[in-house]
Each structure stands twice: as structure tokens, then as C-alpha cells.
């Protein structure tokens, strides 16, 4: 290994430098002595012989230099010399050094902190086998011509999932998963656990072997298989890492589940919050997003095409029950007796096989890689922030460059002397660049310290409330994976090197230019016409322009984002978020959930300070939730769905379903637009009451007068539309509300659409959430709530207490984070750019002090001088700002998705930013200009 030998040899020479030098001396002396001996032996005098030998071989020191240069160590030695020299020089100018260090530290720190997020979220793949081939399959629900980009995927039915499993050749595993909130009863009472119910195929496709035991068998795709796999954390935390746990049973929702396996540490799916995995209970009639693994070598697009074709074929040829007799005409209200008298076909469609072939619109399948699904919209935001960070770093480098150049002017004589004495230009450039690198590395070290703090802050700002029910957190995804690790440090070191080189190369090249006059011949170094200074200023001008340009881009982007954020926060969600307290109740196994719920509602309503109480299957702003197929006839109708109404973002037949308690409207302060709200008295008999949102009512899907119509979900029993309410923003303030359906939960009855046992008892059903409208102190009300819950059932506990205002504010975690970060970056960029403008103008004033003196001698007034100086600085600044406005307009395209309620080309924002920034730049120019105007011409001219 010649490389290694060379390295080791160099290292030896470095470590035993004195010995190596001694040996070298001795060897050379012996050589020269031999040479002299030889000359003497051919008959010359010793003196003559020595002279000839010296002539032939040159000075000993030159030979030694040549020998030393044969290895790399001499380079390292001179480097060490340069570094020592640089440190000495920097320490001698503490103000300059502090300014440059701070600038670089801010730039590198900002970039590194963002990079740590980028690495954790975008670059690090998920901990599964070939994670990029795992995709989520759903169907596009928004109509193709919808302007609103809100996409809420519609899943596939169980039959369709099974058909994909048997017929698709592009997929190797097909399954699905659903969240499962369960209650585990153990020795220390009931605890809530969050987990996932999933198809065995999903566990298999992840390709991670269990730490202990086994994972699910393919046949265990049935909620009757009471087997459970635990996460490493749960095993450690809840079971003390008991190695004998596998094979034993634990009580989940009152049923005993056999622990069949424990997953290894570091494994998670789909988020770290999942504590366990149980077999999937595919809710009857539900449509779930399918998760599948695309076979190796198959492009995702090919898989998507195959699936679209396959789904289209399944739908046109599948066996549907016979079409029922026509339903009663919509628009008339049926009495309960009439409902009961409906023919049996409405209650349960006879499963007669009818083959229907319809030229259906081919389904538009969405295929989203799992990682993209988890990362979602944060990708664009992060890339924008990363770009902003790099801009800040660039502006910082440009400032350091200007600083180095300004300082270089005081060192021109030193450098010129060295050049005159024969130093190579490359050697001096190397020394100056070393100085820049020393500066950069010191700045980079401080920057990494800043980044460590910044990452903490990011994690704090990016964290959100624990999700109500189970769903992706509203905070930054994978936020706990963010950290400063080796990869981030390598990045920081790379950025530091690049910054040091970028900052130092140009000034170094400027300062060592031989052709530019001769500083040695100049007087005291105040000559104004030195070409070096002129050229330095011109490039400096370009740099300042670039700085102003980038800072303007960031300022405009930050202002747009900030204004968008303000308009999001001022959106009304359609309900009153103030004075509402939300919480969930964990019941021990065996408790009668329905009865407890009814009794609890009564007690809650009776609490002092509580005006109304209700419950819901999902709180507002909880992610996920079921989209149901709303039908106007009791049995499924085959054939193409009706075309979406023009402009509607969601097809009205797929509304979002919420099962709610009767007091829902009172607690949330929702107004009824048409018809009435839910009746107060206990529910009895069919049909159950339903409310629809205004956009669903206006879609025409339920006829011109929807109040009073009967609608159907998966259960054969009809629902009666009793009223129309305002559209509610249930998923986020920035998400336009789609069609919504609110079904009143019958007391002690299954939630509509699921056909399943009462809420909260089946694994996977989300725990219901309670909401109370209160007066006064939320803390006091929360205490009252705890008391009420204990009174209803001693084993029940209250969980996830939060005010609705907190929950709504929680949806803004990401926009708030992005806005704050971009604002900070924009502020930094603007500050640095202004410092750059100031620095350049001040530098040029210093270089032209004689010229100014001459001008004043010839009659220029201080005002003229000020105008001259300010004019030149402002020309650069304004050019930069104008270029920046153009840049911002171009960049705003990428920002558009993050903006709400404001055009990416909003003229007021652009104009305001430009005017303010120009004003500040003017102030930055005016300071040195006023100094220039105070110049005493007599003094400057005499100073020559």
C-alpha cells in the first residue's frame, strides 16, 4: 500500500522531526565529503574541491528543501505555520474577528440546523426493507377540475383489496392498517395504549424480523385472532423486558390476547407512537387506504397503470346484489311507521348475482410512497428553508469577504514586500486562504453550537399535542429523529470549508495581484486612484448587490408567509373554539361504555360552569377520519358515480362522517341554516337523525330540498336528514371544508356506518372524545370533569385534556414553525446585507478620503459629498432590491402551496418590502456619507 507507506513515512518524519533532520544533515554531509574527497583524489586543492562541489550541487539548504518537499509533511508543516500566523493576526484584530466569526456562525448555524431536519426527514430512509417500494394506494376523490388542491384519498373496499392481492402482478404484498386505541387492564388499573391493527401482509412487507417470537401468519387476518405483537419500548416499559412474555396473554379491551412477538428496538410503524400491532378488523363496508409493496424492478407508474386497469375491471364485472325497488321519492318526510313498512329489500338487499357491465370512468388510482406520505408537505417547506439558510450563509460569506478585503488594504505593503522579495503568489494566496479557513472553522464551531441549540428549538416548536385518537401528529414528522449526528457534522464541516474558501479566495486573489500599481512606491497608502481599490470596489459592489438581492427574496418570501399565516389564524372554522374543553375517557375492561357515556353526559351538564356537554367520535382538527359512501338508495348501486358538480373539490357522495352526541351544536356554537338540530330526547326507532353541511346540501346530490330526505350508509337502515348546518373546518383552518355528514349517535347504539359494537370497545375504534362548553377557569372545569368521571366509574381515567383553542392552535404548528424560521432567516439576511452595504460604503469612503478632500477644496459642499457617497451606495442597493423582487416573484411559485389567502405575487407585500428595505439601506449609506461630509480637506491633503 504505497499510500499508507507514504503517509506513515510522513508521519514518522513529523513525529521525530529533530532526528530526521539530524540524519538528513549527516547523510548530506557524508555525500558532500565524499564528493570533495573525490575532487581531492584527482589532484585539486581541498579549497578548490569544496568550491567546485558547492557550485555543482548548490546551497545545502536548497537541497534539503527539495528533499523535504518530496513528502507531504512539509506541506503540513507550512500549513501549521500559516494557521499559527493566522490565529495571531486574528487575535490582534478582535473587533474584526468577532464580527466575522459572528456572521459565519449565524450562517453556518442556520444552515446546519435546517440540514439536520432535512437529513432526518428527507434523506434518511424508513427502517424497513427497501422502503421506497412500499406505497399507499387510494383513489382520487377530488374531481379532476377542482381548483382547490385539498386531496382526501378515498380508500378501497375489502373485496377490491383482496382482488388486488390475487390478481396484481406488480404488487408482492397487499394489506391495510388502521389505528387502534385500546385499554389494557393490568395490575395497576386500566391504561390506554395506542397501536395499529394491520394485515399480516403489512408486517411481512416491512421485512423486519421480530426480536422475540414471531409476527403474524398470513391467515391471521381476522379480528378473532387475538394475537398481539409488542414494540420494544412497550415491552420494556410496561412489562419490564420480561423475556418470558411471549406466549402469555394480556387483557386488551377485556379480551385476552396472546403475545406472539416483540419487535426489535428502533422499529416503528407507521409512527413511533405505535405500541403494539394486532390483526386488522376491516370494518364492514369501509374503504381503507391500501398499503402494498411494489415488486422489485417495477416502476411505480407501471404499477399505478396496472392497478387502475385492474380496479376498473373489478368494478365493471363484480357481482352486485340485485338492484332494489326504487326508493321513496326524496323530499318527503317519512313517518317511522312508513319506514318500518318499507319492503325488506331496503333493509337487506338480497344477494342475487347480477352481472352489470357499465362503461365506467376508469378509477384514478393514487400511488404514494410511504415515505412521501409520512413527510407530506414538509418536503417543499424544508427545501425552501434550506435554500433560505444557504442564502443567509452566502450573504454572510460575502460580508466576511468584504471585511477581509477592507482589512487587506492595510496589509498591502506587507504583501507587496513579500512578493518583491520573491515569495510565490500561490504561497501568499495559500496563507490568506488559510486565514479565511481558520476564521471559517472557528465560526463553524460556534455555528455547530448554535445549531445544537437550534435543533432543540426546532424540536420544541415542531412538537405538537399528542393526537386525539390515533393519527399522524400535526407537528413535524419524525421530529424525534432530528439531531446533530455524524452526517450533520460532515455537512457542517463541508459548509465551513466552502464558506472559508468562498470568503477568502477572492480577497486573496485581489491582494496579491502584482499588476495593480505598486504599493511600495506609493506614499502613505492613501492614494485614491489605486487600480486595486477600484477593482476591489467594483467586485465588492457586485457582491453587495447580490446580498441585497438575496435578502430581498427572503424578505418578500417571509412577508408573504407571515401574511398568509395571519390570514389563516383569522379564518373562522365555522364553530366557536373558545371556552370548550375536550378530553377522552379510558374505561376499564367490562365497563358498559354506552351506559357510562349517557350517565357521564348528564353529570357533566350538571357541573358548575358547564353549559353544555357532548361527545364525538373525532374531535375537530383530529387528522384522519372516515369518508363514507353516502347513498340515496338503500342498496349499493352499480355503475359510474354521477359527475362531480362543477367547482366542487370533493364529490358529494363521499362526505366526511362524524358520529356525535345530541349537544354537539350547542357545545360548538354551530348555527342551523335550515331544518332543525338534533332532538334532545332519547333516540328511539328508525330513522336516525342526520345533519348535513351546507356544501353537501348545495351540491344537489340530495335533491333541491335535502331536509327530510332519507339517506343510506353501509347499514341498511336509513338516516333522515333533519337539518343543514354551516360548513365546518374539521381538518385544519387552511383546508376548505368538504361535504360533511353528522349522525347522531343513538344512546348505547352502534355508530352509524360501522355496524360495529359501541364506540371504544372494539379494538381499533377510536375512543370517543367529550367536549364541554364552560365558563371561567378551564383548570377548575377540568378538575370537575375528573370528579364526574370518577363518580361514574371508579376505574375510569381522564386522558388528553385540552381546550379546543389549544387543539385548533395545534394545527398551526407547522405553518408557525415555517413562518418563524423564514422570518428569522429573512431578518438575518437583511441585517447582514445592510451591514454589507454599510461596510462597502464605509470602505470606499476610507479609500477615497483624498479625492473627497480635493473635491471639497474645489468647492464641493458637504451636501454634494454626501449625495455622491449615498448615491453610489443606493444605486447598488436599489439594483439589488429590484433584482430581488424579480427573484422573489420567480421563487414564489414554490411558496404558493404554503400560502393561505394571499397571492404569491401580492403587490402590497412586494412594494412594502422594497420600500422599507430601501429606506434602511439609505440609512446604512447615510452614516458613512455623513462622516465623509465632515472631512476636513486641509487635514486630508496635508496628511499626504
Amino acid at each position: 500500500m504505497p499510500f499508507f507507506d507514504r503517509f506513515a513515512g510522513g508521519l514518522r518524519a513529523l513525529l521525530f522531526r529533530r532526528r530526521a533532520e539530524r540524519e538528513l544533515d549527516e547523510e548530506l554531509r557524508a555525500y558532500l565529503d565524499e564528493a570533495v574527497d573525490r575532487e581531492v583524489s584527482v589532484g585539486r586543492s581541498p579549497a578548490d574541491a569544496r568550491r567546485r562541489v558547492r557550485l555543482e550541487h548548490g546551497p545545502v539548504d536548497a537541497i534539503k528543501d527539495g528533499i523535504r518537499d518530496a513528502g507531504w509533511e512539509s506541506f503540513a508543516l507550512s500549513m501549521a505555520q500559516d494557521v499559527r500566523y493566522a490565529v495571531r493576526t486574528l487575535v490582534r484584530t478582535p473587533m474584526f474577528t468577532a464580527a466575522a466569526l459572528l456572521t459565519l456562525a449565524l450562517g453556518i448555524g442556520a444552515t446546519t440546523a435546517i440540514y439536520s431536519v432535512v437529513q432526518a426527514l428527507l434523506l434518511r430512509s424508513l427502517p424497513y426493507a427497501q422502503p421506497e417500494r412500499i406505497v399507499r394506494i387510494s383513489e382520487e376523490a377530488s374531481s379532476p377540475e377542482a381548483q382547490d388542491p385539498v386531496v382526501r384519498p378515498v380508500g378501497l373496499s375489502k373485496q377490491e383489496m383482496e382482488a388486488l392481492r390475487t390478481s396484481s402482478w406488480t404488487l408482492s404484498h397487499v394489506g391495510s392498517y388502521l389505528p387502534a386505541s385500546v385499554t389494557m387492564s393490568g395490575s395497576e388499573g386500566a391504561v390506554r395504549m395506542e397501536g395499529m391493527q394491520l394485515s399480516p401482509a403489512v408486517m411481512a412487507m416491512l421485512g423486519v424480523p421480530p426480536l422475540l417470537g414471531r409476527v403474524f401468519e398470513p391467515r391471521e387476518e381476522n379480528p378473532l385472532d387475538t394475537v398481539i405483537v409488542l414494540s420494544f419500548g412497550t415491552w420494556q416499559r410496561r412489562f419490564g423486558g420480561d423475556p418470558g412474555l411471549v406466549g402469555s396473554t394480556i387483557a386488551i379491551n377485556g379480551q385476552s390476547y396472546e403475545v406472539i412477538g416483540v419487535m426489535p428496538q428502533g422499529f416503528y410503524f407507521p409512527t413511533r407512537d405505535a405500541e403494539f400491532w394486532i390483526p386488522l378488523a376491516f370494518p364492514r363496508g369501509a374503504r381503507l387506504v391500501i398499503t402494498a409493496r411494489v415488486r422489485n424492478g417495477v416502476p411505480l407508474e407501471a404499477a399505478r397503470e396496472e392497478l387502475s386497469a385492474l380496479l376498473g375491471r373489478i368494478r365493471t364485472t363484480s357481482r352486485y346484489p340485485a338492484p332494489p325497488p326504487p326508493p321513496p321519492p326524496p323530499g318527503r318526510r317519512l313517518t317511522p311507521e312508513e319506514v318500518m313498512a318499507l319492503p325488506p329489500a331496503h333493509i337487506a338487499g338480497r344477494a342475487e348475482d347480477v352481472r352489470i357491465t357499465v362503461p365506467a370512468e376508469p378509477p384514478r388510482v393514487r400511488l404514494v410512497p410511504l415515505h412521501d406520505h409520512i413527510i407530506g408537505s414538509t418536503r417543499t417547506a424544508l427545501l425552501i428553508l434550506m435554500g433560505a439558510g444557504v442564502c443567509v450563509l452566502f450573504i454572510a460569506c460575502a460580508n466576511v469577504s468584504t471585511l477581509l478585503l477592507a482589512r487587506g488594504s492595510t496589509r498591502r505593503r506587507e504583501i507587496a514586500t513579500r512578493l518583491a522579495l520573491g515569495a510565490g503568489r500561490g504561497r501568499i494566496v495559500r496563507q490568506l486562504v488559510t486565514e479565511g479557513l481558520v476564521l471559517a472553522f472557528a465560526g463553524g464551531g460556534a455555528g455547530i453550537a448554535l445549531a445544537l441549540g437550534g435543533v432543540r428549538l426546532l424540536q420544541y416548536m415542531g412538537a405538537a399535542l399528542p393526537p386525539q385518537g390515533f393519527g399522524p401528529s400535526l407537528g413535524l414528522p419524525r421530529v424525534d429523529e432530528i439531531g446533530v449526528d455524524a452526517g450533520v457534522l460532515v455537512f457542517a464541516a463541508g459548509m465551513t470549508c466552502a464558506a472559508g474558501l468562498a470568503a477568502a479566495l477572492w480577497p486573496a486573489a485581489q491582494q496579491t495581484r502584482r499588476a495593480d500599481g505598486d504599493p511600495l512606491r506609493e506614499g502613505s497608502g492613501t492614494t485614491s486612484a489605486s487600480p486595486l481599490q477600484l477593482r476591489g470596489r467594483r467586485t465588492g459592489g457586485v457582491l453587495v448587490m447580490l446580498q441585497m438581492c438575496l435578502a430581498t427574496v427572503l424578505l418578500v418570501s417571509g412577508a408573504l408567509l407571515a401574511r398568509g399565516f395571519v390570514s389563516v389564524t383569522s379564518v373562522s372554522p365555522g364553530y366557536d373554539v373558545e371556552n370548550v374543553l375536550a378530553f377522552q375517557v379510558i374505561l376499564p375492561a367490562g365497563a358498559n361504555a354506552g351506559m357510562i357515556r349517557d350517565e357521564l353526559l348528564e353529570r357533566l351538564s350538571a357541573l358548575p360552569g358547564v353549559q353544555a356537554a357532548t361527545f364525538t367520535d373525532r374531535l375537530p382538527m383530529s387528522t384522519g377520519g372516515s369518508v363514507v359512501h353516502l347513498r340515496t338508495s338503500p342498496a349499493p348501486v352499480a355503475g359510474p358515480p354521477p359527475p362531480p358538480p362543477p367547482g366542487a373539490s370533493m364529490r358529494p357522495e363521499f362526505p366526511t362522517l362524524r358520529t356525535v352526541g345530541p349537544g354537539y351544536l350547542d357545545v360548538l356554537g354551530i348555527a342551523v341554516r335550515e331544518g332543525r338540530g338534533f332532538s334532545k330526547e332519547a333516540w328511539q326507532g328508525a330513522p336516525r337523525e342526520a345533519l348535513i353541511s351546507r356544501s353537501l346540501a348545495e351540491s344537489g346530490y340530495l335533491g333541491a330540498r335535502p331536509v327530510g330526505t332519507l339517506v343510506y350508509l353501509n347499514a341498511p337502515a336509513p338516516l333522515e336528514v333533519v337539518g343543514v348546518i354551516d360548513d365546518l373546518r374539521l381538518f385544519g383552518l387552511d383546508q376548505a371544508p368538504g361535504p360533511q355528514l353528522f349522525v347522531r349517535a343513538g344512546e348505547g347504539l352502534p355508530p352509524a356506518g360501522a355496524g360495529a359494537p359501541p364506540l371504544g370497545t372494539r379494538p381499533g375504534a377510536t375512543l370517543p372524545a367529550y367536549m364541554v362548553r364552560f365558563d371561567g377557569d378551564p383548570q377548575r372545569v377540568a378538575d370537575g370533569v375528573r370528579g364526574a368521571v370518577r363518580a361514574v366509574h371508579p376505574g375510569a381515567t381522564v386522558d388528553r385534556v385540552a381546550t379546543l383553542a389549544e387543539i385548533v392552535s395545534n394545527t398551526l404548528v407547522r405553518p408557525r414553525l415555517y413562518t418563524a424560521l423564514l422570518a428569522v432567516f429573512a431578518g438575518l439576511a437583511a441585517l447582514l446585507a445592510i451591514v454589507g452595504v454599510y461596510g462597502l460604503v464605509a470602505y470606499s469612503v476610507r479609500g477615497r478620503i483624498r479625492e473627497i478632500g480635493v473635491r471639497m477644496t474645489f468647492g464641493a459642499t458637504p451636501r454634494d459629498i454626501g449625495r455622491l457617497v449615498v448615491g453610489q451606495g443606493m444605486l447598488l442597493a436599489c439594483l439589488g432590491i429590484v433584482a430581488g423582487l424579480a427573484g422573489a416573484a420567480a421563487a414564489s411559485r414554490y411558496l404558493a402551496a404554503m400560502l393561505y389567502g394571499i397571492s404569491p405575487l401580492d403587490a402590497a407585500t412586494y412594494g412594502g418590502v422594497a420600500a422599507t428595505f430601501a429606506l434602511v439601506a439609505f440609512a446604512a449609506c447615510w452614516l458613512p456619507a455623513s462622516a465623509a461630509a465632515r472631512v476636513d480637506p486641509a487635514k486630508t491633503l496635508r496628511g499626504e
Binding site: Y31, D33, D37, A70, G71
Partner: protein, 116 residues
């Protein structure tokens, strides 16, 4: 580090090969190598210390030769260099390449207008 200090009268890069060849005959100290080169080439190649020692340093770093302190015939302490096995292999390879090249160059220089 890359550019060899060029021996004014040596084809670039051949100094290493010639040093290796000289040492293949017998271990030798620095002055002896220069002297031997001059003698064998009958005075065509004269190598001074400024070229020879960097070459020796490089060869040693690359593990092709190794140096040992011994007493010279003139009773001085001298650093004697000898070929390592790698050095021997390298010399064989370089000799082969050199001969092939030299022959090719000679052929080209001999070429008459009618050929080819």
C-alpha cells in the same frame, strides 16, 4: 510534491528507474549511486544531490528501497540503500516498459518514407 526535480540531462521520470537498477547491483550510499550512474553511463548522466536525494526519499517512502546506516569504505557513517522486494518487482516492470517504448521509438525514428 508531484513534480520531480528534473535532472537536466535525464529523460523525465527515468531517474527512479536508474536508481533502482543501480541498487539492484548492490546496496550503495547516496554518493556511490551518483558515481555509479556516471560511470556506467560513461559520463553522460551526472546527477547532483538536489535531484538524487529527493528521488531517494520518494523511493524510500514508496517502500521500493530501504536505507540503513553503515560505515563506508572511507570510514564515514553513510546511509546505504538496498532494493526491497517491491522495488525489485517495480524495476522489472519499468525495465520491460522502457524497453518496449525505446524499441517503438527507435522503430519510428528509423522509419523511411516508403514504410507503413
Amino acid at each position: 510534491m508531484s513534480s520531480d526535480p528534473k535532472p537536466s540531462d535525464l529523460v523525465q521520470g527515468t531517474l527512479h528507474m536508474l536508481v533502482l537498477k543501480t541498487l539492484a547491483l548492490e546496496p550503495m550510499h547516496g554518493y556511490g549511486i551518483g558515481l555509479r550512474l556516471e560511470q556506467i553511463s560513461r559520463g553522460v548522466f551526472r546527477v547532483n544531490a538536489g535531484s538524487l536525494f529527493p528521488a531517494l526519499r520518494r523511493l524510500e517512502r514508496d517502500g521500493l528501497i530501504k536505507g540503513e546506516w553503515q560505515m563506508t569504505e572511507n570510514n564515514r557513517r553513510g546511509r546505504y540503500y538496498s532494493l526491497t522486494p517491491q522495488g525489485r518487482t517495480r524495476l522489472k516492470r519499468e525495465t520491460r516498459e522502457w524497453e518496449a517504448q525505446a524499441e517503438a521509438i527507435a522503430r519510428i525514428l528509423r522509419a523511411s518514407p516508403g514504410e507503413g
